[in-house]
Symmetry: C2
Subunit: 457 residues, 2 copies
C-alpha cells in the first residue's frame, strides 16, 4: 500500500464559521418558488406559515455568499464534525488505478448520514423562534432519524410521518426515532385530511414521500406552535449542507490536492449540493474547471431523463411550485428500487446548475451499484448506504476509465452514510434477486403529462 | 458548554507499534489452561490443532511485555484507528457533575465494535500460516461481523456458527456477514456432531454461545485447512485489544489528564482487558492507584456472584479448562437479557487481576442500563450498544456520586460499540416491557454444582 495517511481530520477549531450560499455566485439565479394558486413568487409571509422564520430568510436569500453558523449549531457539529476525508488506498489498490480516490465520510454519527447537518440547524431555528413542536416526513428514514436526534437535543417534540412501506420494513429505524423521543406515524395515516383522502382513493397504499410531505405540512399548520422542516430539495438545506464541501475543500488544500472530478449521489440533492458547493463557487467565478458529476439511479432519472419545468413538490399539492428537473409529482420508482433517491425532482438550485452545464449527470443501474457497494465494503471496510453506493459506482467507473487511458486523476466522492438499516436491499443483491427495472418512455410521458399548466388564472 | 475539544484523535503515525501483554507485569500469573482429560497444562502442540500457531505462542507467552503488531495488521488498523477519545461535555452538562468524563469510542467501524482489533490480527496469522478457512461462533453478532470483515480482507473463507435465537432475531447481522462473504449457520446445526447431540437432547433449543463454540471448534478440526478463532476470553484476544488502552493512555497524556477511575463492561473480557491494559500495568508496577471497575449485568454476574474455579469454556467440553470467575458452563442468562455479556465466565487474566484486587467489579440491572443508554444517546448523539451501556451506567453513577461529595474526578469509560443492531432491546425499553430478572441463589448453586471435579484420574 502507498505510504500515505488514510484519514485527514481537520481540527475542531477549523470547523467552518459560515455556510456558503452558491446562489450568491450564480449570475442566473434559480427560478423562484411559486404560489400554486396565483403562480406568483411566494412571499416570505406565505412561507412563514409553514417554515421557521430564519429558514425562510435563508430560503429566499440569493445574495449573501456566507451565512454565519450559529454558535449552538457549531457546538453540536463539534460532536461529530469535522468528518474525515478518507483516501481510498485499499480500493485504489484493488482497482489497480493510477488515480487518487478520496471520499468525504458523513456516516460517522448515529443518524447514519449527512442529514444531521441540516436537521440540527433547522431544529435550532425552531427553538429560537419559541416553537414547541416540529413535523416532518421520512422515506428511507435517515432524515427522520436525524431530525429526531436534533429535536431531542433542543427539547422539541418531533412528529415524523414515515412512508408506510418503510415504517413496516424498517422497524429498527422507527425504534431509533422513538428512542430519541419522536412520535412516528405511518403515512398515509387517518389523522390528517391528506392522509384520509389518499387512503380513500388508494385503499391499501403503502405511501410515498410526496404524500408524507402533505401530511407533515398539514400537521404543522394544525398544531398550535409548530412548523414543518424538510431534509432536502430546499435552498436552505443545500446551504446547511455546504459544511460538507467546505470541510472537503479545506482538507484537500491541506493535502495539496486539486480535484479533477467530484462525484455525489443525487436524490433531492441535499448531499450533492453540500459536497460540491465551494467547488461550484470556484467554477462560477471562473477559478476552476473541475468536473462535477451527479449520479442518480436509472430507476428514478430526474436529471438524465426528466424535464426542467415547474412542478408540485408533494402529492396533495399543498407546497409551492418549484422549477426543477422532474419526472412529475406522481412518479413513483419501481418498488424494487432500494434505499433513498426516490424523489421525483431535484433541488431547484442544482437543477439550474445542471441547466447551466456547471454540473453533469449520469445514471446507474441497481445491480452495478450493489456490486460497487460490496467491493467497497470488502476493501475500505465501511458498508455504504445504497444511496452513497451510487457515487461509489461512478467513482469506480471513472477510476477504471483513467486506468485504461493511463491518465492520473484526483477523484473525490461523497460517502453520505452507512447501510446498516438497508440490509434488506443487500439481501436481495446477495440472493441474486435484485431487479434493474427502469421506467419506460411511456411511464415518463405519463409523469410529464401531469406537470402543472403554467397559465395564470 | 466548556470550551474544550470534544474529540481527541491521535495521528495515524501514533498508532501503537506493539501490543502490551499485562501478564508480563503480573507477579502471580493467570492459571494455565488444562487438558480436561489429564488435568495437565495444555501444550502448544495440543492447542495448535485448534488455534493458529502464532496465536498459540501469544496465548502461552506470560513474559514478553510488548509484542510487535505485524505491519499488515497496523495497515488495516489505520483504516479505522486510532479511534477517538471523546470528552462527554454534553453529558457532563446534563448531569451537572464537576467531573471530567471521557470515553474511548470503538464503534466507528462497520463491525460496530472493538472486536475488529483482534479479528484482523487473528485472520492475518491464519493467512500467514497458509490456511484457507477459519471458523468461529457468534452470539450478538459483533464478533462474527468483525471476523467476516477481516476474513474478506485477507481472502479467507469464514464459517460462522451463530446462536440460533440471534440468527433468527437479527437477520441484518447475518446479512452483513454474508455481504462480507461469510457462510453463516444457525447453531445448534445438524452439520456437526455437537450440534446434532444438542438438538437431540434439547429439541427446539435456540442455542447458546457455549454450544456454538463446540460446533465451530469441531468444524475447524474437520475442515482440511482451517483453524478456530475466538473473539474473547483468551489471553491472545486480551493482548490484541490492548491497542484500545494504549491509545487511550496516549490521548490522556496529550490532554494532561490522569484518570481517577477507568470503567469497562465485562462479558468475556475482550474490551475490558484491552481498555485497562496499560493502566493495570501501572498499578502492577506500583506507578498508579487509579480505580479500575468491571461492570457486568446483574443477570449474568460472573465476577460479583461467581466462583473462581476451573471450568469448561464450552458446552460440549471440547475446549481446555480455564480457571476463571464463572457461573458454571451450563449457566444461561434470562432470555429477556439484551445484547452480549452472556458468557458464563470471565477471561482468566481478568479473573486473576480481580482476585488480586487490582480491579474491582459492580453489577447493574437492565432497566437502569437502558435508562443510561437513552440519556447518553440524547446528549452525546451516539446510540450505544447495550453492552457499552453497562459502562455508561456505571460512569454516570460515579459522576453523580462525585457531584454529591463535591469531588472532581477524571472518569474514563469504554464505549465499545453502537446499538444499531440491538433495537429490539431498545424497543422493549421504549415499550416499558424490559424485565430485570436476576438469577436466584438456587440457580447459581446449580451452576456451581456442575463445575468440573479437579481430581486427576
Amino acid at each position: 500500500m502507498k505510504n500515505e495517511p488514510y484519514k485527514t481530520y481537520l481540527d475542531e477549531s477549523e470547523l467552518p464559521q459560515a455556510w456558503y450560499n452558491m446562489r450568491a455566485d450564480m449570475k442566473k439565479k434559480p427560478a423562484p418558488l411559486l404560489n400554486p394558486a396565483t403562480l406568483e413568487p411566494v412571499t416570505a409571509a406565505e412561507l412563514e406559515r409553514v417554515f421557521c422564520k430564519e429558514c425562510v430568510r435563508q430560503e429566499l436569500d440569493n445574495d449573501t455568499a456566507y451565512i454565519p453558523i450559529p454558535e449552538p449549531v457549531r457546538e453540536f457539529y463539534r460532536m461529530y464534525r469535522p468528518s474525515p476525508l478518507v483516501r481510498a488506498l485499499v480500493l485504489e489498490n484493488a482497482l489497480g488505478t493510477p488515480d487518487r480516490i478520496y471520499y468525504k465520510f458523513e456516516g460517522n454519527n448515529t443518524s447514519g448520514s449527512h442529514k444531521l447537518n441540516s436537521a440540527i440547524a433547522q431544529a435550532y431555528y425552531a427553538k429560537e423562534q419559541g416553537l414547541s413542536d416540529v413535523t416532518t416526513e421520512t422515506g428511507a428514514g435517515q432524515w427522520g432519524t436525524a431530525l429526531s436526534m436534533a429535536s431531542a437535543f433542543f427539547g422539541l417534540k418531533c412528529h415524523v410521518y414515515m412512508v408506510k412501506c418503510s415504517y413496516e420494513q424498517k422497524p429498527f429505524r422507527r425504534e431509533v426515532m422513538r428512542t430519541y423521543g419522536a412520535e412516528v406515524t405511518p403515512s398515509p395515516s387517518m389523522s390528517t385530511e391528506a392522509g384520509r383522502r389518499i387512503n380513500a382513493e388508494f385503499p391499501g397504499t403503502t405511501g410515498s414521500l410526496g404524500c408524507a410531505i402533505s401530511e407533515a405540512v398539514e400537521a404543522a399548520l394544525k398544531l398550535p406552535n409548530a412548523r414543518y422542516l424538510l431534509g432536502s430539495v430546499l435552498n436552505q438545506v443545500c446551504l446547511h449542507q455546504s459544511v460538507i464541501g467546505l470541510e472537503t475543500a479545506a482538507a484537500l488544500e491541506k493535502l495539496g490536492e486539486k480535484p479533477d472530478v467530484i462525484i455525489g449521489c443525487a436524490g433531492g440533492g441535499s448531499n450533492l449540493s453540500g459536497l460540491i458547493a465551494p467547488f461550484v463557487g470556484r467554477k462560477l467565478r471562473g477559478e476552476s474547471d473541475c468536473r462535477i458529476v451527479a449520479v442518480e439511479p436509472a430507476s428514478c432519472p430526474s436529471l438524465t431523463r426528466g424535464r426542467y419545468a415547474y412542478d408540485f413538490c408533494d402529492t396533495a399539492k399543498v407546497c409551492p411550485l418549484a422549477k426543477m428537473y422532474t419526472l412529475g409529482s406522481g412518479f413513483i420508482p419501481s418498488a424494487s428500487h432500494a434505499g433513498g433517491l426516490r424523489y421525483h425532482g431535484l433541488s431547484p438550485v442544482l437543477s439550474e446548475l445542471y441547466d447551466q452545464k456547471i454540473i453533469e449527470a449520469t445514471s446507474v443501474g441497481q445491480t452495478r451499484v450493489f456490486e460497487a457497494a460490496t467491493l467497497f465494503a470488502r476493501t475500505e471496510g465501511t458498508l455504504p448506504a445504497p444511496e452513497s453506493a451510487h457515487a461509489i459506482r461512478a467513482a469506480i467507473d471513472e477510476a477504471l476509465r483513467c486506468k485504461e487511458s493511463g491518465k492520473e486523476e484526483t477523484i473525490v466522492f461523497g460517502l453520505t452514510g452507512t447501510g446498516y438499516f438497508d440490509l434488506k436491499a443487500y439481501a436481495s443483491y446477495n440472493d441474486g434477486t435484485m431487479d434493474d427495472t427502469v421506467p419506460s418512455d411511456e411511464d415518463l410521458e405519463k409523469g410529464f403529462a401531469a406537470l402543472p399548466k403554467m397559465e395564470k388564472a
